[in-house]
């Protein structure tokens, strides 16, 4: 990939004549090319995702077999983290996660997966790589800002990881870091895991901010000639709304992080009420703060965040479905208005995470209403995608399989969210495994499947080779089966009342626990034993990713060649570039003449008409003259 030099400044001298060789560092590490940055984001985020997966596996083991040492890695964990965190089991084998470590892994699993894996893949990786190509731009509007965005994200992520070796371990107050718990759980150290979490978040938020400003500016300013708003591929619309959500929703969390940082470093009481007592000792604080304030600020980000995670994935799925049904998206305009409505409504639903905080029934009713309202545009999107399948001659390739699974899995995740949105039923379900099952159905077999679809779909553009179809299908079917085997039983556990944050998987509250003799109700053996099934399914799910990882790296050199710049016979502009796209992306400046999904147009010479193909009459004369 040729690479622009930054010596003249990113805004000037972006010309194609600038082709001299760049050093390794400039080309792959401090690159300003949106494609390289996209890949950097993607690979880094994928590593974080694997770390998050490992944390989850360790936790799953402890839930299924409380008190038993972790096999294989238990001794290693003890060596790294020390006796404070890792204990010995009854037989004296080291490697039992102590509850504090479980909490720490839980908090970091959530943080890493949401902030360091899913958002960077959806926005940083796919958005960066694909959006400028799809709108016919030579690069992002601010290439150097783009580079700083990635570096800041990397730094924030490394700080988060470094917090595991802090004297009292990483943050352990959940990915939501609720105060006052987050402020008081390690009073002995000023620079504790929570402080590192907050500092890491500030870098991470700055990274998203710089990235999203870049996205919106790029989409507004750098659209190719003729690429008007209703000709934008749906993926670009999804990224556009996502970027706006990032710009507007993240700063309140940054403010909240700053305030919690002030609380933790100076001993102020933004989120600490009067009369706090910790471990029997009254805290020497001024008091007068509000724990609810943190929750409001956190969820003001937290709920738009859900759509920040979702929209890029649904954008990818829309691209893949249109391409593989060989039909235009059904209701493109409704989908655009739907995604805009989601963007707006997502700012006024946040307190449905807070029904049980006692903020008042009137407020709950308001947020219940808005929560039900936001399900309407979400259903519009999903329905449009379903109807798009109708009557299409569907190509069941790997990206399409993942997209189809996305529709069903996201559907399950979305519909099971409704009982959580009603505050009456939420009282029963709040903080149970039902919640875990609900949002993991959206994120794991939903959003991550969308990302898999994107990887299989755009890989030929990035490398010029296909990913292996057979191993792709193995990856797909195993992932689909084990995803459901992991998350479906959690609905049952949640409905049985199993709480989401118990390090022993609920054994304390089991009916079979001798301590609970004569207790009226508790968790049945069936519910407790599901833990084991889930944990083994989770391990199988992790193993099922191995074909994908190998496929990803081996296919770079050994994959089947595409022999075309447009192997999927797609209409959108990213396929009209050289493969892989060079510096400046396009060989000729593209002109756009039509909408993004002109598939199977009656009378057209192919079943797809690229956006930049000259209109019929002119192209006829041109073709004859060319021939």
């Amino acid at each position: 990939m040729a690479q622009q030099t930054t010596a003249h400044g990113a805004h000037t001298e972006h010309g194609g004549h600038d082709h001299h060789e760049l050093s390794f560092w400039r080309k792959y590490v401090f690159s300003t090319d949106h494609k390289v940055i996209g890949l950097q984001y993607g690979l880094t985020a994928f590593c974080f995702m694997l770390i998050g997966l490992f944390l989850m596996l360790a936790m799953r083991w402890q839930m299924a077999y409380p008190g038993k040492a972790l096999p294989i890695v238990g001794g290693l964990l003890q060596a790294i983290l020390g006796d404070l965190w890792v204990g010995k089991d009854a037989a004296g084998v080291p490697g039992v996660m102590l509850p504090d470590l479980y909490n720490s892994f839980g908090a970091m699993h959530g943080t890493i997966m949401v902030f360091l894996a899913i958002v960077p893949i959806g926005v940083g990786a796919f958005g960066n790589y694909v959006v400028p190509l799809q709108i016919g731009a030579p690069d992002m509007a601010f290439p150097r800002l783009n580079m700083v965005s990635y570096q800041s994200y990397l730094l924030g992520g490394l700080l988060m990881l470094a917090s595991f070796v802090m004297p009292a371990g990483a943050a352990k107050s959940g990915w939501t870091s609720y105060s006052p718990l987050a402020s008081v759980n390690d009073l002995a150290h000023v620079l504790n895991g929570q402080t590192m979490w907050l500092i890491g978040m500030v870098f991470n938020i700055s990274a998203s901010l710089l990235g999203s400003i870049n996205f919106v500016t790029t989409i507004i300013q750098l659209r190719a000639k003729g690429m008007n708003w209703m000709r934008l591929p749906f993926f670009v619309w999804a990224e556009f709304v996502t970027a706006f959500l990032l710009i507007l929703a993240f700063p309140p969390l940054e403010a909240a992080a700053a305030m919690q940082l002030v609380d933790n470093l100076t001993g102020s009481s933004f989120f600490l009420p009067s009369g706090m007592v910790v471990s029997g000792q009254p805290l020497n604080i001024s008091g007068g703060g509000s724990p609810l304030l943190w929750q409001h600020l956190f969820w003001f980000l937290g709920h738009p965040e859900v759509y920040i995670l979702l929209l890029p994935a649904i954008g990818i799925v829309a691209e893949v479905i249109a391409n593989n049904t060989r039909k235009p998206l059904w209701g493109y305009r409704s989908m655009v208005y739907g995604v805009l409505a989601i963007g707006f409504l997502s700012f006024i639903v946040w307190a449905h995470h807070m029904y049980l905080t006692g903020m008042g029934t009137k407020i709950s009713t308001f947020f219940q209403t808005t929560t039900m309202m936001i399900s309407i545009p979400s259903v519009i999107l999903l329905t449009c995608l379903f109807i798009s399948l109708w009557g299409g001659s569907i190509r069941f390739n790997v990206p399409m399989l993942f997209s189809l699974a996305f529709l069903v899995m996201f559907g399950i995740g979305g519909l099971t969210g409704l009982p959580l949105g009603f505050n009456a039923s939420d009282i029963q379900l709040h903080d149970t495994y039902y919640v875990i099952a609900h949002f993991h159905y959206i994120v794991a077999p939903g959003i991550i499947f969308g990302f898999f679809a994107g990887v299989y779909f755009w890989y030929p553009k990035m490398t010029g080779r296909y990913l292996n179809e057979f191993w792709g299908k193995v990856h797909f079917w195993l992932s689909l089966i084990f995803m459901n085997a992991v998350f479906f039983p959690m609905f049952i556990q949640g409905l049985a009342g199993m709480h989401r944050r118990m390090s022993d998987g609920g054994a304390t509250y089991a009916l079979s626990n001798p301590q609970n003799q004569g207790v009226a109700d508790g968790l049945s053996d069936f519910v407790i034993n599901l833990n084991k099934h889930i944990s083994w399914a989770a391990l199988c799910l992790a193993i099922a990713q191995i074909p994908f990882i190998l496929n990803l790296f081996i296919s770079i050199k050994k994959g089947q060649k595409t022999n075309s710049d447009n192997p999927w016979k797609s209409t959108t502009l990213e396929w009209q570039t050289p493969t892989p796209p060079g510096h400046g992306n396009f060989a000729v400046v593209p002109n756009v003449y039509r909408g993004p999904y002109e598939y199977s147009v009656p009378g057209a010479k192919d079943d797809f008409t690229p956006q930049n193909e000259l209109p019929a009459r002119k192209s006829d004369t041109k073709n004859t003259s060319a021939k």
Binding site: T217, Q221, P251, P252, A256, G287
Partner: protein, 275 residues
């Protein structure tokens, strides 16, 4: 292919890239400070109205005179002047008059430095001002004799101080800075009687916590903006010779940021000093 519209505006949006970028950035800044203002409202509304300053956890009233209103007012004026000069500097460039730009932007930088100087005097006054709660529940404010910065009861006890000399503030309503300290003899207080002693920092009360967070964040913005303006004033100004249009745009963009920083202060001053 070059990135288009870095200097010339795009015809259908009539904006060049950086201008779109800075407005989006300002939108995010609005949300950042908006969240802090909302927090201020929530904390103040949530404070116990029965408590009266200087009681612990009480929300002070402006008549308690915690902040120095004249200094805040002068700072408001300083920033408004700088807002005018930053526009004049940009207009001068549009009129191709670099020398006037140099003069006006110089005034802007002087104003920024003046603002920070005044603010640091205000901060220093807070860090040597104390809030004491005795074991019998009496709360009072004043100064330690001799003057000390950043002290708390924990530090005094660690240093084995048995007794402090404390100059009490005059009754509220007179403003602490206006009062002459000579009128008030220091009283001796045994450390054994002290429940809580702390300087007027973020830990003293939620009011000071939000005051320091908001004004501190604002001061960081002032410093950041001033650094960019100073860069474009001296080394960055070379671009005027090579690419005057782009240089003018740069001055415009950082001017927009500067206006935003001023605007935040226009809200901060009444909210923190006058309410």
């Amino acid at each position: 292919m070059e990135i288009p519209y870095t200097t010339k505006p795009r015809p259908d949006t009539a904006l060049y890239n950086a201008k779109v970028g800075i407005w989006l950035f300002l939108a995010s800044e609005v949300m950042l400070f908006g969240a802090l203002f909302s927090s201020y409202i929530l904390l103040r509304v949530g404070a116990d109205p029965k408590l009266v300053w200087p009681a612990l956890a009480a929300w002070p009233h402006h008549s308690d005179g915690l902040l120095n209103v004249p200094m805040g007012a002068i700072n408001t004026l300083v920033l408004i002047v700088s807002s005018v000069t930053v526009v004049m500097a940009w207009v001068s460039l549009k009129l191709k008059n670099f020398n006037k730009f140099f003069m006006f932007q110089g005034i802007t930088i002087v104003c920024a430095m003046g603002f920070c100087a005044i603010k640091s005097f205000e901060y220093a006054a807070k860090f040597s001002h104390y809030h004491v709660v005795l074991n019998d529940g009496t709360a009072m404010t004043g100064h330690l004799e001799p003057k000390q910065y950043f002290t708390t009861d924990k530090k005094l006890r660690a240093a084995n101080v048995a007794e402090i000399e404390f100059v009490k503030d005059p009754p509220s309503g007179h403003g602490h800075d206006a009062a002459s300290h000579d009128d008030h003899k220091p009283v001796k207080i045994k450390m054994a009687d002290v429940q809580r002693l702390t300087f007027w920092g973020p830990q003293q009360s939620t009011y000071f916590a939000i005051y320091f967070t908001m004004t501190g964040l604002h001061a960081l913005h002032v410093i950041g903006g001033a650094l960019v303006i100073a860069y474009l004033w001296l080394p960055g100004a070379r671009m005027w010779k090579t690419d005057p249009e782009r240089f003018t745009n740069r001055v415009e963009v950082c001017g927009l940021f500067w206006h935003f920083v001023d605007l935040v202060w226009i809200f901060l001053f009444p909210v923190l000093y006058l309410l």
